[in-house]
Amino acid sequence: MAATHAHGDNYINHEKGLWSWLTTVDHKRIGLMYMITVMFFFLVGGIMALLLRLELFAPNAAANVGGVLKNGDVYNQVLTYHGAIMVFMVIVPGIPAILGNFFLPLHIGAKDVAFPKINLASWYCFMAGAALAILTFFFKKIDTGWTFYTPYSIKTGTATVMMVLGAFIMGMSSVLTGLNFIVTVHKLRAPGMTMHRMPLFVWALYSTAILQLLATPVLGITLLLLAAEKLFGVGIFDPALGGDPVLFQHFFWFYSHPAVYIMIIPAMGVVSELITTFSRKVIFGYTAIAYSSLGIAAVSFFVWGHHMFVSGQSETAGILFSFITMLVGVPTAIKMFNWVATMYKGSISFDSPMLFALGFLFLFAIGGVTGIMLATLPIDVHFHDTYFVVAHFHYVMVGGTLMALMGGFYYWFPKMFGKMFNENVARLSFVFIFIGFNVTFFPQFILGAMGMPRRYFDYIPAYEQLNKISTVGSWLILTGFLLGLWAIVQGLRKGEKAPMNPWNSKTLEWQTPSPPPHDNFNVEPIVTAGPYEYR
């Protein structure tokens, strides 16, 4: 397909002006709008993380930087916003809304998603919810932690209701995106693109979309109940009114556990793409990877109680939840082995996207085995709500999802903008992020084993050394991200013109010009084989 369009008309220059962007229904432009906003939130959440780490550099008794956040209240607020922003505004929307929006239609050879206007509406939903949530910061800060556990969230005098409404509205956006993707996958595949010829990224988005559609409404209802409780004192969660505070945890995790998979399954999809492309080899166990995503999605609804082993739920419940959680470990392990096996007898190049994919495998392996530890009942009794958990979820969410997001971003950057980025700076950025990440979060496993609880503004002197190391690591991560930003900005400003298929990939999005034309393909693609036929 050598179709280069006359005058290089593409989705970026197709229409001009801010207004044309704000009213666009082109999935590619919407993907970019998500990208800009999510990057902004990431910056805000990141600055807060640095402040938290700075506070924890030394115990408050020490007369040095410890104390930047003045007191426990300010720390708890910053912690809440860091967690809530990173979860609800960065990691949950991240891959599906940015890369999914941009590439799902291209991947399956469609002109757009099934409901372009709903797609735009979901961006506005997201922005409205995020704005509501962030506005609370300027007027009545919230300090509940991103989990909003009752009865603390009812008793504390801060802006719980407004925050919760913000999260509710962002949830709507997530539901709309999920719905859109499901219909798109079912209805808009190009001729010849059977389900089993879809790229694995599409399978991952599809599984995620099902989760978004089924799980998010439960969170929505829970948050509305919480708001009702706070506003009208209806007595569902507040023990003083005859409610049950643990019920809130059940409701909350019934969404938020599947949400963990909403965060990680798309990342697994991206990694599948990266590993095949940069090994130039057909993926090992396509069907196993595709269906294990669906399997994980299904089982993830039945494991929420593993967040509550010490909450006072019955022993039997604890045992059942531990058992089912072990079962989810298996498909995850299968995927890991499949990725490694894909590299066997491949032709592996170390372009920066691949580095991020390998980084993902490395960090996710550690996140995975520590997850099994946490699923083991008596061990979790010791580790629950300690820094071990903080380390574990950062290994999964940052080491896993964020690594994949960045790898995917570099991978598709040439397609999105028609330009190449500075490869050496990107690699350097990876090195800093990878090393910094381990320096920051590995010591936290040890801190957790030693017993340091999480959400701590101050700590006993025994924990000081490791906290210092961890804080220094956060500066390395910062350096890495600044370098990455520079690689991107320089790439946009004066990057070389990107060819149609710089990585020699086989999937459809590379069979159209970079950047793609407004309608995605100049010639409607016809699919005759699977997505990774490297022979």
Binding site: K155, M326, P453, F457
Partner: protein, 318 residues
């Protein structure tokens, strides 16, 4: 086995104050080793392949291997077996953790923003300091007067949330003299990280002396306090306490630990939570053959401490 001991020694777990802690560490040591092997396999495999199959020329030919059923079966089945083994092992220990020993020394612990309030059977109260005798089963009955807290002693590997509106419990048998940290691990607001207590393990003699001193300091035993309250709140006008004779309401004589039949046929064990519920929400479950709606609720009229006292009083009617 040497490996195993090394893994345990390198695990950074705090000192082992109980037998359970040792068992937990054994399992954790095992997990550390298996996890390490798994990581070596995955990460090592990845690094080895990355080095071995590094791209040599721009148009390398690669093998076309789409799957291998035998391998795939193996690497699904082996993790499954390991996970289930670990699960079973964990279940075993967890069961011990959750089975409260009979005749344990009971101590009430009340979490509140931001301190632990401890009350012994004889009415002696302290803040942020639990003293227990060595080599005896101790059961802590946890509750909270405001938000959820969580009682955590790293050296004992025990943790349990203290939830407002109900009792939860944990037990341990300390095997080492000394002082251990108590942390609150459920985020509870401003001074969450300052909610730190001490658990002191002492000899039986020292423990008796400690309690006596406390006793002298002041205060009636918890059950005695309950007896007074029972009279003050006029509970006695409806419930008999010295015989099984029934007044307006069921007799409370020797009630604790018995199974009560409700009007809907359900059977409920009269434990602390049942007593608590019967005092605060008397009409949620009504004992068979008694009219609904007669007993008023005492919600809001009793504080946690008074509830503890009343329940203790009922428990002691043996």
């Amino acid at each position: 086995m040497m490996w195993f001991n090394i893994a345990k020694a390198q695990s950074f777990m705090p000192s082992q104050g109980t037998e359970i802690a040792k068992q937990v560490d054994n399992l954790y040591g095992f997990l550390l080793i298996t996890s390490f092997i798994a990581c070596v396999l995955v990460i090592g495999g990845m690094l080895y392949f990355a080095w071995k199959y590094k791209r040599k020329s721009p148009n390398d030919k690669t093998a076309y291997i789409s799957h291998n059923t035998f391998l795939e079966f193996l690497w699904s089945f082996i993790p499954l077996v390991i996970f289930l083994g670990v699960f079973a092992w964990g279940w075993f220990i967890y069961h011990d953790m959750r089975t409260m020993p009979k005749n344990a020394l009971e101590i009430n612990v009340l979490g509140k923003q931001w301190a632990w309030e401890i009350e012994y059977k004889n009415g002696y109260k302290t803040v942020n300091e639990v003293v227990v005798p060595i080599n005896e089963d101790v059961k802590l009955l946890l509750s909270s007067s405001d938000v959820i807290h969580s009682f955590y002693v790293p050296s004992f590997r025990i943790k349990q949330d203290a939830v407002p509106g109900r009792y939860t419990a944990l037990w341990f048998r300390a095997e080492k003299l000394g002082e251990f940290h108590i942390f609150c691990t459920e985020y509870c607001g401003t001074s969450h990280s300052g909610m730190i207590g001490k658990l002191k393990v002492v000899s039986r003699e020292d423990f008796d002396k400690y309690l006596e001193q406390g006793q002298e300091e002041r205060n009636l035993p918890l059950a005695k306090k309950g007896e007074k309250l029972f009279a003050v709140k006029a509970c006695a006008s409806c419930h008999s306490v010295d015989s099984p004779a029934v007044k307006v309401g069921p007799s409370l004589f020797k009630l604790f630990g018995k199974e009560e039949v409700m009007d809907d046929g359900a059977k409920i064990l009269a434990d602390e939570n049942y007593l608590r519920e019967s005092i605060l929400e008397p009409n949620k479950h009504v004992v068979k053959n008694f009219p609904k709606g007669v007993m008023p609720t005492f919600q809001g009229q009793l504080n946690e401490n008074e509830l503890n006292a009343l329940i203790e009083y009922i428990k002691e009617m043996k």
